[in-house]
Amino acid sequence: MKIGVFLCECGGNIADVINLEQIRNILESKGFFVRINEHLCSDQGCKHIEKCIREEKLERVVLAACSPMMHGKRFEDTVAVLLNPSFFEIANIREQCAWVHSSDEATPKAIALIGAKLERLKSAVALDKIIIKPYNEAMVLGGGVSGITAALSLANHGIKTDLIEQTGTIGGHMVQIGKVFSPGEIAVECALCSLAPLMSDVHHHPLIELYDRSRLKRVAGSRGRFEVEIERLPRYVTEDCLGCGRCMYACPVHVPDECNLGMKLRRAIYIPFPQAIPPVFEVDIEACVGCGKCLEACDIGAIDLKMKKKAIMLNVGAIVVATGFRRFDLGQVKEYGYGRFVDVVSQMELARILAVNGPTKGKLLRPSDHKPPGRIVMIQCVGSRDEKVGNSYCSKICCMVALKHAAFIREHYPACEIVISYTDMRTTGFFEDYYRHAQNLGVVFIRGRAAEVVEDDGILLVRMEDTLSGEQLEIESDMVVLSEGLEASDGTIEVAGILGLSQREGGFIKEEHPKLRPVETDKKGIYVCGCAKGPKDITESVLEANTASARAFEYITGEVTLETGGLSDDEFLAEIDGHLQWKKRGERVVLAFLDREIGYRCADAIGAKRLSYPANIRIVMVPSIGVVKEHHLRYALERGVDKIILGMHDNFDLEVPEDIEDRVLKYRVYTPYFRGLCEVFERVV
């Protein structure tokens, strides 16, 4: 195999420090083809490389020059004319050698760096770039307002879209909310009046396939070619159902109605709410007693209690995750007595009480005795901004939810007093109008987190400190409403696990870049929107859903290039061997595994600033620190590497076994803080 090595003088940047002539002599004596050039990156330099490859029939090429971050792409394009880019490597003898070491140290290290690359190239396998066309179909996970919006947008752009919903109807939490607020508007709107037409559009759209009662089971493939398995549970009612409801009236079973948070009852055969999509009844098979009364009642024979669950395979080019949130479990905050006192309810339960299709048909009556409450105390930030329950984030919507309910009650039930116990009122932007509106309606705001809710002589007492006056208060109330925080839904956590997406606090899915790529996940072709990403209101969810669908559309209609430039195990181990090949007796070698994007750039910056560190630090670039596994560490240590530095970042972590713990140092790299990395280099040696 004929291998060429090109040594770059880089003006004097390299040649003034490193004895290139000496390196040439050594390498030539080992049978390599070696050339020294003043500026390899110049037009002439590149032409020279190309000419040599052609004339000398070189099969592998090592360039010893500046960092691949500088002219890597240019060199790769030059070599790629004649050679597969997999057969080409750059040894960084400028930023990571000539600029950080003295002359006598730099030359032997440069030889070792080149030697490591030569060794690696022996194991290189030719990889071709692959350009693929994504499947012309999209999948949206979750049928709440975000998922509905994303699915409609994709379908309206002509993409066939599969909408996966785990319950029996689309609509999500927005259906339950009843009344919704908007920025800059004082009036609240009917949620279903806005949402039902969109749900109907989903139902009738020729390009949307709705999979209700379905869950994501597994995903194979990647990048535009996702092969997805969906599990669809049976409804036990066929699509012939006309929605007449006779079966429901015949059913003798009464169970709590989820849509009304258990405050109402439903039958075992039911439709979650009259506007549900698909407009087909379903059987709660766990509640069903199998009496067969519904079968008798159905004239058209649409009920089939023997229906089985199905596994469905779908091929999609892009996935939009819109799996939403779950409401914080208020029972965790024992001091507020949720679950112990019936008149302590959640904001969502209050929303149901105020809803015309709710348990009280919209009348404000408290659960215990169905009497109108004279005073309601609302407690904010329950399960939000609370490290005690593990949620330090703000749930963003609860201030507005409380204001919406408080203002509505003050307008319609002026005899009812409302007290809001708040941490900070966060009514950003035009929502401030709403805050003022509630103040004008006489809602009382007290700053301070309620300490506890107790019952004394049948009266609920909210104990708190008014932190503005320092006064301790005990507020008698007929009803206490807890503003529950938002957490990532079980579906969000499950889907993130199946798809392998990064998550942030609380299990919410993390975007690739919060500003520039806000709906992209760290997996190409998978997008996220709505509350699956973090708490937000309907307006923001819809905005994000449209953004996510636009990005998914671009992805599906474009081309996907599967890049080369990865690192096979053989290449990785060969490069480690290469570093040790030139090791002198008694010499200590420290390998620093640094990822391409952050750690390696950070190390280059040390050179650019002309700081220095010991020459036995050898940097090995890896595409991502996640590729470094325990067996790589053991391989290196067993073959004579003294210590290893792992440049950690993001969510990657590697558990280092105890027996090699003292020889492996994990350090969090951060591109601007190159001095920190430099200090670590010095300290380790």
Partner: protein
């Protein structure tokens, strides 16, 4: 928990309710639980430490000695009868990075609750109980609260329920008993105010007894009832029982032996009802 516990006696309990202190040993004997009763053990100094009288260093050194005594006796854990000892030892263990384990006596009995049921001569059927958990148990090492939530511990509740009693809720359940280490020394009027609020709220639900697991709470809730009557004519008369006394009593230990004479509020009535 290890096979043999190092029994850590309480100074307050020993001084004011010596039989209640002894009852833990009686209960352990009945349950065949091994323990070492070491006369060399010294006070955890918690009372002085939490009142700000003893410096940290003293408390550290005294308990370093206690830990080493326990280990010398072959015990991997220390079981305290008092919640202040529990919290103080835990804190010193943490500061000294000592591997010894610290448990409160009630936690050990909670582990053995099924065996307790088998040895009962009497039970709490028809008896209404309110519970009060000591702050040094629930509020310092709050993650370690054995049953329930630090904001609503139910260790005593579960014991009382398993013994057949009915546990009543009351509005001041999470309020301090009133002892408040510093306040007891500096401002007893404040202590009295809190104890009154606590006891009056208990009186509203009219229980047969108050169940506690802290010597300070026992002392405060029991003795303040006399002071409140003397100074304000407040008629409360709610019996207060320590967990050790209650379980010993249900095992059939005679009233005199659980030390009813040391209690300010008469226990005879409730004991009679239990034995009925």
């Amino acid at each position: 928990m290890s096979e043999c516990h190092y029994l850590f006696k309480s100074c307050i309990l020993g001084a004011y309710y010596p039989e209640a202190e002894r009852c833990l040993r009686v209960v352990f004997d009945r349950l065949d639980t091994q323990y070492v009763d070491d006369p060399a053990q010294s006070s955890c100094t918690g009372h002085g430490y939490h009142s700000g009288i003893y410096p940290l260093k003293t408390t550290l050194e005294v308990n370093r000695r206690n830990f080493s005594l326990a280990r010398g006796k072959g015990c991997d854990d220390i079981v305290t009868s008092c919640v202040t000892s529990y919290a103080t030892l835990k804190e010193m263990k943490k500061l000294l990075k000592d591997p010894i384990k610290i448990y409160h006596g009630l936690e050990v009995l909670y582990e053995h609750r099924n065996e307790i049921l088998r040895g009962l001569k009497y039970n709490l059927e028809g008896i209404k109980v309110v519970t009060h958990h000591g702050c040094h148990y629930t509020k310092i090492f709050y993650d370690d609260v054995k049953a329930g939530d630090p904001e609503r511990p139910v260790l005593l509740d579960e014991i009382a329920t398993s013994l057949g009693g009915e546990v009543l809720d009351y509005s001041e359940r999470s309020l301090c008993c009133g002892m408040g280490f510093n306040h007891l020394l500096l401002d007893q009027e404040y202590c009295k105010k809190i104890a009154r609020r606590k006891l009056e709220s208990i009186k509203k639900v009219n229980p047969d007894l108050i169940l506690v697991h802290c010597p300070g709470c026992l002392l405060t809730l029991d003795r303040f009832q006399g002071i409140l009557k003397q100074e304000m004519g407040l008629e409360l008369q709610i019996p207060v029982l320590n967990y050790t006394e209650l379980i010993a009593l249900l095992f059939g230990v005679a009233s005199d032996e659980i030390g009813i004479k040391t209690h300010h509020v008469a226990l005879e009535g409730v004991i009679e009802r239990i034995k009925e």
